[in-house]
């Protein structure tokens, strides 16, 4: 088979899946560009008769979507930073020092990374409630970090172990103190793993449903995900054109970041998902 033939066959085989994955994007775009009057016509049509960009304005003014996006960014970035600050030293300690009970510790980390908040949700709600943290973004940051930190330590440690200890020791002999050799030599070398771990933590927080659903109460605190969920649930009339404009605004930046970082992501994900 020539490369051209192979390309054709492979695209053909993948096409059903690609269409299914891209269909929602076509739907989002089609609906987001329609005026409300065209959304609720029967039978529905794919192409709008009049392209109406006002949906993209309405979502800022009417449903305060900018605040929801900022809330999402705030909790996701907060959780990522907290997770890294806690996980980097822990992973370093586990990679570089002989510790008693290291085996059981790794097992504990592996087990906790697999536990999802859903089955513990009643306990988490009561715990945050006892701390007075209901409807407070801090509760989300703490919970996201709590559920991500084990995985982060696990992943960072695997990578840290591949960085030769001799490089740090050479810097130490050359007169750098322990902290300086850590900061100047070790951390730059560890950046790829830290980047992938950060991305994992960020996406886990950004895509969360159950914790935000349980711990947030008032409209101005909602994350983008929750805002969209409340827009489509509970009410009899849903302004789908506005909802689709908002989902488009939420998903397209992520898709672009994904496009820009894809080489690192695929490599890093393979590392993280399997190891």
């Amino acid at each position: 088979m020539t490369r051209a033939q192979k390309t054709f066959v492979n695209w053909l085989l993948l096409s059903p899946l690609l269409i299914l994955i891209l269909l929602p994007y076509a739907v989002m775009l089609s609906t987001a560009l329609k005026p409300a009057t065209e959304v609720f016509t029967f039978p529905p049509r794919w192409l709008p008769e009049n392209i109406d960009l006002s949906n993209f304005i309405v979502i800022w003014a009417k449903i305060d979507f900018a605040r929801a996006l900022l809330n999402s960014l705030y909790v996701s970035i907060g959780a990522t930073i907290l997770t890294l600050v806690l996980a980097i030293p822990a992973a370093y300690a586990m990679a570089r020092y002989t510790l008693p009970g290291k085996g059981p510790l790794r097992l504990f980390l592996l087990l906790t990374q697999m536990i999802s908040p859903v089955v513990l949700i009643i306990g988490i709600f009561r715990m945050m409630s006892a701390q007075g943290l209901i409807n407070d973004h801090l509760s989300l940051i703490l919970a996201y970090s709590g559920f991500s930190v084990a995985f982060a330590v696990w992943m960072l440690q695997s990578y840290f172990e591949t960085i030769p200890r001799e490089i740090e020791e050479a810097a130490y002999i050359d007169g750098a103190n322990w902290f300086a050799s850590l900061r100047r030599i070790f951390l730059p070398l560890a950046m790829p793993a830290i980047g992938v771990t950060a991305m994992f933590t960020f996406i886990a927080a950004w895509t969360d449903f159950i914790l935000a659903f349980t711990l947030l109460r008032t409209p101005e605190k909602l994350t983008a995900t929750m805002k969209l969920f409340y827009l489509v649930s509970g009410t009899y009339h849903v302004d789908w054109n506005e909802v689709m404009a908002a989902t488009l605004v939420t998903t397209v930046p992520i898709a672009i970041i994904f496009l820009l970082l894809q080489k690192h992501i695929v490599g890093g994900l393979a590392l993280g998902a399997v190891k």
Binding site: T7, P89, A93, M114
Partner: protein, 291 residues
């Protein structure tokens, strides 16, 4: 190199461990306490009742209905996802024009979240104005629109398909890792010896990715068992609990029906199940990494 004091590594470890233990340990302890006491709907813990809450759960027909639905959900989601992901990862590991683009598209649903996928599909599947009905009508496949989410018999299989779509990206990544770590010289040798593509796949590729299949099964079972968002967004477990799986039913028992003690007992049983599965995963992972 003079090592820092032995205390230092512990100081470095303790904060992250403390957070993980707090966020998991406190809820588990609280659930244990509630599960053997009477708890009113405001969360006040009353008398010790022994195993009463557990027997309440185990005699609740809706619990069993959700339980069996969870089995169907988890098994079909895991099986379907792996069945699709192996050939997809196999293709994505080949060298062809536009591979980067196809990889990107396949992995996209992971980054945009199950919630977004659920919301857009809920609109796409809308019985009257949804685009899927429009598409199927235009293609002449159906005469009149289908109410995809109005009955459990249709909504549940539809939810399974969407769940598979959301689970494919991470599973593909696992298998991509598997395929890319395969030694190419062995395959060259097989090719020279005259093995065709089918024989190569059957007798070489499959055995080599066997450990990755184990990991994919365990991860997908855990993912499917815990997946709350897709069902909650599409149907909220309705109509009349006909699409509830255990996690959505648990949420209702706790926060809508206000039966906190029974919900705690249910939580603990689900937690125990997960723990068993996680231990299985740990065993596979340990065997893989040999530490």
């Amino acid at each position: 190199m003079s090592r820092p004091h032995l205390l230092l590594p512990f100081v470095m470890l303790v904060p992250s461990l403390a957070l993980a233990i707090w966020i998991i340990g406190y809820p588990v302890a609280d659930l244990m306490r509630m599960s053997v006491h009477a708890v009113n709907r405001f969360g006040r813990v009353g008398n010790f009742v022994g195993a009463l809450n557990f027997s309440e759960v185990l005699t609740d027909p809706l619990f069993w209905a959700s339980f069996w639905r969870t089995v169907v959900w988890t098994v079909s989601l895991t099986f379907g996802t792996i069945l699709i992901s192996i050939p997809v990862a196999f293709i994505l590991n080949q060298d062809f024009a536009g591979r980067g683009l196809t990889r990107l598209i396949v992995l996209l649903p992971w980054a945009v979240s199950a919630t977004m996928t659920g919301i857009v599909w809920r609109w796409t599947l809308n019985g009257q104005f949804g685009m899927l009905n429009a598409l199927l009508t235009e293609l002449g496949l159906i005469g009149q629109p289908i109410e995809f989410l109005a009955t459990g018999e249709v909504a549940f299989p539809v939810a399974i398909l969407i769940g598979i779509l959301a689970a494919v990206p991470l599973t593909v990544i696992i298998f991509l890792g598997g395929f890319s770590s395969q030694p190419s010289d062995v395959f060259d040798a097989a090719h020279i010896d005259g093995a065709g593509p089918v024989a190569t796949f059957r007798y070489m590729t499959l055995p080599l990715i066997r450990p990755f299949i184990n990991i994919a099964i365990v991860l997908n079972v855990i993912y499917a068992f815990n997946s709350f968002a897709i069902i909650w967004i599409l149907t909220q477990g309705g109509p009349a609990n006909s699409t509830d799986i255990l996690v959505t039913y648990l949420y209702k028992v706790a926060f809508q029906y206000g039966k906190l003690a029974e919900a705690s007992a249910m939580s603990l049983m689900m937690f125990a199940f997960l723990l068993v599965f996680c231990t299985l995963y740990a065993r596979f992972a340990i065997r893989e990494r040999a530490w």
